[in-house]
């Protein structure tokens, strides 16, 4: 029993984020003019997926005690790369996806090398590499556009039924066994796959644990003989990879590539907000990428709610800002409990 209580208290921030999300999302669906429907779910999960990926990308460096200001730029660069490659024969498209994801991971790897071997603070190193990545994206797509395979982008942004129908699996999606899962939106499936097959194994590996250890205390991690350099490079590379998935999905969703600098900045900033709302400490060492996914879900659900309540569009940015500020200020309650002033200065 006490074990359960310890586990609950350790994951209090994550559970709070999940609870807030459920609250907001149920509220949204209850007030939606047409009630809950699969169409709305698909639309919502499409709008959420990219930010969720970028938020996961941000989480890994933050856990390490760093910050990656280039996640939005990597997403944009991969978006422009993928907009050139996602067409042609299935093999060509698979190649294009592979190149896109590899490009994302390579960008992260460069970040990691500059931070580890250049010994430059992550925040300023990624500020600079972010500018470089955006420059490359502008070079690849001076103006928005792209040529993305229609079937692929249709299949990836709908429910499982459409995948089966498009590519002729499970008797074009009509098989009886397939019906119970046919309604599930593809982005949600992808999200779960990424979490289960990439994030969870990573966070349980020695490298993943070292990322947490570096965030808690780099000196102690070093003295314990943990592979610090490897963990740092891995953290940034994985971050770049996640951002790459986000960029690839953005390409499928918009069927185009756009080297949109303000959009890149907005994604970077929202990713930081999502990470914090998801319960990861900006000081490092505490939190999980799953929390950040829920942070991203919360941020997007807030916008969904604005949509159905027909709030004056001019007031929306203000509401979003106030909600964001309030959400990040929740952590301030810690201050009220501190008895020894010195503990404030951690």
């Amino acid at each position: 029993m006490s074990d359960l209580r310890v586990r609950l208290s350790q994951n209090a921030a994550l559970l709070t984020a999940i609870a807030i999300f459920i609250l907001f999302y149920v509220f949204y669906n209850m007030n939606h003019p047409r009630g809950f429907s699969v169409a709305v779910l698909i639309q919502n999960s499409n709008e959420v997926f990219t930010l969720a990926m970028v938020a996961m990308a941000q989480t890994v460096p933050v856990l390490m005690g760093g910050l990656d200001l280039s996640v939005g730029a990597i997403m944009t660069l991969v978006n422009t790369i993928a907009s050139h490659l996602l067409n042609g024969s299935p093999a060509q498209m698979a190649f294009g996806m592979g190149v896109s994801l590899a490009a994302g991971a390579a960008c992260g790897f460069v970040n990691g090398c500059i931070v580890v071997y250049g010994r430059i603070q992550p925040i300023i190193a990624t500020l600079a590499t972010g500018a470089i990545f955006l420059g490359l994206a502008l070079f690849l797509r001076p103006s928005p556009g792209g040529n993305v395979d229609d079937d692929l982008s249709w299949a990836a942004t709908n429910d499982l039924y459409e995948i089966a129908a498009t590519y002729g699996y499970a008797q074009d999606g009509e098989a009886t066994w397939f019906q119970p899962i046919a309604w599930i939106p593809v982005p949600l499936v992808l999200l779960v796959l990424v979490v289960v097959f990439i994030w969870l194994p990573f966070s349980r590996s020695v490298t993943g644990r070292t990322v947490y250890a570096v965030g808690s205390g780099e000196g102690a991690a070093y003295m314990s003989g943990l592979p610090i350099d490897r963990a740092k490079i891995a953290a940034f590379t994985l971050g770049g990879f996640f951002a790459g998935i986000g960029g690839l999905y953005l390409t499928l969703q918009t069927s185009s590539g756009n080297a949109d600098i303000p959009q890149a900045g907005a994604y970077t900033l929202n990713s930081i907000a999502a990470v914090v709302i998801g319960g990861t400490s900006l000081l490092g060492g505490v939190g999980t990428a799953i929390g950040s996914v829920f942070g991203a879900l919360i941020l997007r659900t807030i916008s969904f709610n604005f949509r159905i309540f027909e709030i004056d569009p001019l007031m929306q940015p203000l509401f979003e800002g106030v909600v964001l500020l309030a959400a990040v200020s929740l952590g301030a309650f810690r201050v009220l409990r501190v008895k020894n002033t010195l503990e404030l200065f951690r």
């Binding site: 420059g135 490359l136 003295m223 569009p313 940015p317 203000l318 010195l342």
Partner: protein, 326 residues
Amino acid sequence: MTSLPQDTARARFKLGEDDKPIVMSAAFILVILAVGTVYTLYTQGTATLLSPEYLLQQLQVGAFLGIVAAGMMLVILLGHIDLSIPWTIAAGAMMATTVGGPMAIPVGLGVGLLVGLVNGLGVAYLRIPSMIFTLGVNAVMRGLMVAHTGGFAPQTAATDLMQYLAVGKILGIPVALMVWAAVSIIVMLLLQRTAVGKSIYAIGNKEAAAYLAGVPTRWVIVAAFCLCGMLAGLSGTLLAGYSTKAYQGMGDAYLLPAIAAVVIGGTHILGGRGRYLGTLIGVILIVLLNSVLSIMQMPESGRQVIYGSVIIVMLLVYGRGQKVTS
């Protein structure tokens, strides 16, 4: 400890830890000017870059960035950061043009001061990481300004005094440059000659130690954020004067260059170390780099790449941290 003769001789020629960035950035400015001049000599047959009028004009444009960077430096020295700069600039400009008349400039400064105060209170008293709190404040300011202006560039115009401060000239020297110089002198005196300045460095090194030494750390943090906000407001007011009106997103182009200028100038991004002279030179470096690249008609993509590469190379040369070995 006694040192050997050759050590002292070497020490005489060895640059101090804080001087190195300043000397290197100054040298890099000369490189930029040389490359730009060779380019203009080759293509136009004139050394435009070296004419005093051109340099003064560039410095006038650089003044807006310089004033923002001065405030940003105070905050970075504390080990914090202010991401609310973009919409503080825009808010200062918009409110100044809205109010107009003799109160325009005080209102612009006041808006900045108020934003800074909120930032400072949130960071110092609520202990929310500055990175995320100022980000939230930026979003709120954006929301307030969009609600205020309706999402368009406001129709109100800058007052004559604002325009004079931004584009006027006395004896051929731009007034904006003088404003920047005045701000620079005040910030330099503040950092070097006052207790507040010393406290800022102390807090940047170790806030707990500064607190135990009797520094009212929270007040110093609030004061630094207020100054930073006020300078952003001032810059916004001048910027509105420069373009005769305020517009949406007018501050967006100033956040990252301001941080880059401060860091290139040798201020440690985690606080506690850095000299104002470095920030000054960092701003000049970025402004000249931009202007040379635009003379060369470099497309935006190439500019971004060069811009990022310069920051990384400069920091690789002198901004490297210590390897953790204990």
